[in-house]
Structure formats: C-alpha cells, structure tokens
Amino acid sequence: MKRFLYELTESWKIAAAQMAANKTRSMLTALGVIIGIVAVTLMGTAINGISTGFDKSMAVIGDDVLYVSQRPWTRMNDWWNYRDRKKIRTEYAEKISHAIAATPNSNLMIAVPTMSLLRSVKAGDNSVENVFILGTTTDYTLISTLDCSEGRFFNDLESRGGAEVCVVGYDVADALFASRSALDKKVLINGHAFKVIGTLTRQGTFLGLFSLDSIVVIPLPAFKKYFSAKSEADVRVKVRDKTHMADARDELTGIIRRLRSLPPEKRDDFNINEQQAFKSTLDGVKATIAIAGLFITGLSLFVGAIGIMNITFVSVKERTKEIGTRKALGARRRTILLQFLIESTALCLVGGLIGLIFAYLMCFGMAAAFPSFPIRFSFGLVVASMVVSVLTGLVSGIAPAWSASRLDPVTALRYE
C-alpha cells in the first residue's frame, strides 16, 4: 500500500516534469480537451440559465393561472379545427366566479376576463410600437403579481364604466416620458386618448427575449369600445393551490361545459391552457441544446482523446529505454501502467482547467454583453468538467500505458 502511494507520488512528479519539458507539445495536445471542456461548460451554463430565467419569468407571469381560450397554445398546425369554435366570451368570467363561490372547497379562486392586442402608443412626439394592450377588470390585480410603482390600478367603478384611464408598463412610461412622471399624462393608443393613472413595477424580460414591461392595461369596456370587440377573449382563472392543478382543471372544465351547455357526448370546444405548457416546449428546447451540445462536446473530446493517446504513444516510444531502465531497477508492470495513465490524465486535467478558465471568462463576457440573459456558472459544472477531463485522460491513456507496461525489459533496454 505504502509502495503504491510512493509510486503514485513519483508518477505525478514525472508527469509534471514531462509537461514542463515538452510545453508546446503538451499545450497543443491539450487543446482538444480545452475545446471540449469549454463546450461542455458553456452548454451547461446555457441550459442552467434558460431554466433559471424561465422559472423567474414564470413567477412573474403567474404559474397558478389557467387560461380559458378558444385555441390551444401548442399544436397549432391544425388551426382550422379551432377557427370555427364558439368564442370565449368575457361574460363567462363573472359566471365562473359565481360558480366558484357556489362550490364548497373549490380548487379555484376567481376568474377575470382579458382581451389583448398589439398597438402603438404615443405621447407628444414619442411613440412605442407593438405594445401589448390588455383590456381587463380591476380583479386583474388579484390574479397577477403586477404592482404599481407609482399611482394606482383602476378601480371597480372605472373598470365597469369603461373609463379612459390606463396603467402603463415600465418600458412604455420610460419611452414616452423618460425620467418625468407619467402620472396624469395623456397617451394615445391607436389614436384614442387615455389618462395614465399608474405605472407598473419593472418586470424584466422573458428569457431575455422579449420585455414584459411593454404593456398598457385598460378597462375592458374601453377596450371593446375603441378596439375590436370581436377579438378573441380569454378568461384567466386563478387556482387556489398550484399543487392541485389537475383537479382545478377538471373543475373548470365542468363549469365551462355547463356554461356552454355541452351535452356529455360532445368533446370540449375550448381549451384550458396554462403557463406550465411552455415548460414542456422549453424542455424540448433544452433537450435539443443538450443533444447538440453533447454531440459537439463528445466530438471535440473524442478528437482530444485521440490526440492525447497519440502523444502518449509517442512518449512511450521516446522513453522506451527509460522504461527498460525502470523495469531493471524493479518497476513492475502496474508501476509503468500507472505512470503513463497519470501522464495522460495530468495532461487532460491541465486542459480541463484551462478550458474552465476560458469558459468562465466567456460567461463573464456574455453576462457583460447581454445583462438580461440569465447566466449561471455553477460549481456542479466545475466538478462535472473535471470528472470528464479525468475520464478522457484515463480512456486515452489506457492503450499506450498498457503497451508500455507489457514491454519486455531486455528489448526496452536495448532500444535506441
């Protein structure tokens, strides 16, 4: 045991000396592993970042809300099947809320109608395109995490009366009024004037892709009056406990079927969507990134491993006489095997460490360039890439190390 330990220490020393003696060669050989480790780390960082960002955005949008819609959010390749369905009416919301109130121990809390469009918003010379115009009732505050940083949300009276008031998102307020307060200013939505009574707290972006702050919320009757009364409506229903999502769905389905007087033999002519549905789409994206990343990583590590195997073979050849001498002095097969395995592993470890440093710097740079994209450089990734490096080293070293350990001492000593 003690001898094994001494041989191990000796092997690491030899490996370090070998690398020091052949710096250029070692560096070039480690390049494959460096690239592999950079790939593995960046891929992991990307997947981590997407997950974190998604969860954060989900919390903002509300992952405990069911959306009653005419169409499903996913699988829209057969949209014609949904086009002629009976529309979802904003009046459903009140009826659903009544039904919820009448049900003891309901899994649902409250239903709120919403209608939405993309329109431009102007104030004076400034304008913002493609703003998400959301028409809803004052109850909307009960189902979302929206919060006013200044002013207030519209009240029940304004909501029912269809007052020409609005609450603007951070991006809209910033674009139209810059540093000045937006409160009590007039904005033109598609040419119709609304008074700003509140600005919303900044929500950030969804995965850094689009802003959640490019929004204007107005009372539903005003939306119907000035924009399309015919545009599709959704009813958003807040769930009491998001761990019982399935029960909540069943209950809501029942309520809507009754509302629409659907006979039992007919299938649902509406869809209940939830943000969680995005999750499965996202999982698909993550899996694609993972597979592509794994392929690239695997390929570069494979190339790196071949390079290291090659250089270890060269090293064995160059030092055949040294191997003979060591054997003459009492080195056993295992000793020689260990020595060359450790040499290839040390090379991979150094490559892995350099790769990690590069990956870290690249993440750092990316974070600086795209501050909104969530980037996570985790300790788990560091451990994972070290493990991958060591495995690469062992795999690529085993063949040359084996051949070195099998060398006949007489032949090895005579080798010039």
Binding site: R3, K327, A328, G330, A331, R332, R333
Partner: protein, 255 residues
C-alpha cells in the same frame, strides 16, 4: 601499496544448471545459449567474456533476471527464478541485483539524488530513509558534492558513479555491470575499475560482462563463452597488480 587481496567466497548466490535460450528471429531459430552451467558465490569478482554473438548478453540478461531461460534451472539465493512471472522477477531485480549499464541509463531530467532514490521508491521505502540512503550511497562513490546535479551537468565518470550508487543503494546480492567502461576514456575507465575493486573489497559480489581483456583482468575469475557454451572458467593465476594504473598515470605526468 599492497597488492589487493583475493577474498574467500561465501555461500552460493547463483546456481545455473544447463540453461538454454532460443530466440525466433523471422523464420530462424537462434540458439543463444546451448547449455550453460555456472555457479557464483557471494563475494566473488567475476568477469564474463566472449566475442559478440557468444551468448554473453543473453547470459547477462538471465543472471539479471531480465529474462527467463528456455530450459534448465536457475536458482537465485535458493529461489527458483526460471518459473517466476514478470512482477516476481521485478521484485528480485529490485532487491537482489544492482545494474550498471554501459550507457549509464540515468533519468536525464532528474538529479543524482532522485536517480539513486528510484530503486528505493519501487521498494516502498519512506521518503526520509530514501533520501538518507541515497545520499550515503552517493557519498560512498565520492559524489557527496553532486547530489543536486543533473546528468548533463556531470562528466561521464561521474555519471557512471551515480549509476553505481544507484546499483548499490538497495544492498543487492550482486552487482551486474555490462561493459561499465565502454563509454569512458581509459583513464576514467580505470577509476571506475578501482571503484569496483573497492566494492569487492567491501564484500560485494561483482559480475562484469565485457569483451575487453583489460577490464576482465581486474576480476578474480573469468568465464569465457563461445557459441552459447562455456569455453573456459578459470581463476586468475595472480591477483592483478596496480602497476598498469601507476604506469598509465606516470606516463601521463611525463608527457
């Protein structure tokens, strides 16, 4: 200076009986040894001689446990070597045999001390004891002031001294030297031979493998091989005189 004495040999170390060795080279079978019988006792000073192709190197590989015979019996300190596997042979080489090579075979990037420590690492000796014993071995061969030098910072003679220190550091039963002066000038060669003489006088068993009569002359017994068999095995008639060395030094001084 008194002529060096011949010491009386001790118990049997090497007992070889009728060993043969065949190699297959291409389609030809080479009979390197055709039945060699040889006994070597502790504290003998023996030279194995013969022209190239005589089987001298093959016999040396056998004696050094680097190779096993095709047939015949080889006992080393009473242990049957002929049937040992690679790792058992490695253990014998590590503990019982000190090798000195013609080309020194030092690790080029390691200091003298680390070179001499190497057999002790394979023997599983503690680092402290390793350093102590390696230092002592280097002091014994007169290199106490060259511990941290690398081979390329040493002269040929000094390199061979490091190799001898390495051969002796694990207190082997035999020192096996293969043409130890082959890569040295004659003056340095004589110095190395003087060192072997003193090793012998200290009680070591020394086996020289050489084709030079001048080198073999230092030994007390010489075994001549020819065509894979022992042609002659004789004790030196008179102990070698130090005269040739003195004459050589003298002539150097005059010129």
């Amino acid at each position: 200076m008194n002529p060096p004495a011949t010491r009386s040999p001790g118990p049997l170390v090497i007992d070889i009986e009728d060993i043969t060795k065949e190699y297959v080279m291409g389609e030809e079978i080479i009979h390197a040894l055709r039945g060699v019988t040889l006994q070597i006792r502790r504290n003998e000073y023996l030279a194995i001689m013969g022209p190239s192709g005589s089987g001298k190197s093959t016999l040396m590989n056998m004696l050094g446990c680097l190779d096993t015979p095709s047939s015949g019996r080889y006992e080393f300190n009473g242990k049957n070597v002929s049937e040992m596997d690679g790792d058992e042979l490695a253990a014998i080489r590590n503990r019982e045999i000190g090798f000195v090579f013609q080309t020194f075979n030092l690790l080029p990037r390691s200091t003298s001390l680390r070179n001499v420590e190497l057999p002790l690492i394979y023997a599983g000796i503690d680092p402290e004891e390793r350093e102590e014993r390696a230092t002592q071995a280097l002091v014994d061969v007169g290199l106490g002031d060259r511990l941290t030098h690398r081979p390329n910072e040493l002269s040929g003679g000094q390199r061979q001294r490091v190799a001898i220190a390495r051969a002796l550091v694990n207190n082997p039963s035999i020192v096996l030297a293969d043409e130890p002066t082959g890569n040295l000038d004659s003056k340095t060669g004589e110095e190395i031979m003087t060192l072997f003489e003193s090793l012998y006088q200290q009680g070591n068993t020394v086996i020289l493998v050489t084709h030079e009569a001048d080198v073999a002359r230092h030994a007390r017994r010489s075994v001549h091989l020819r065509d894979g068999v022992v042609e002659s095995d004789e004790l030196a008639t008179a102990p070698p005189s130090p005269a040739p060395l003195a004459v050589a030094l003298d002539s150097l001084g005059k010129s």
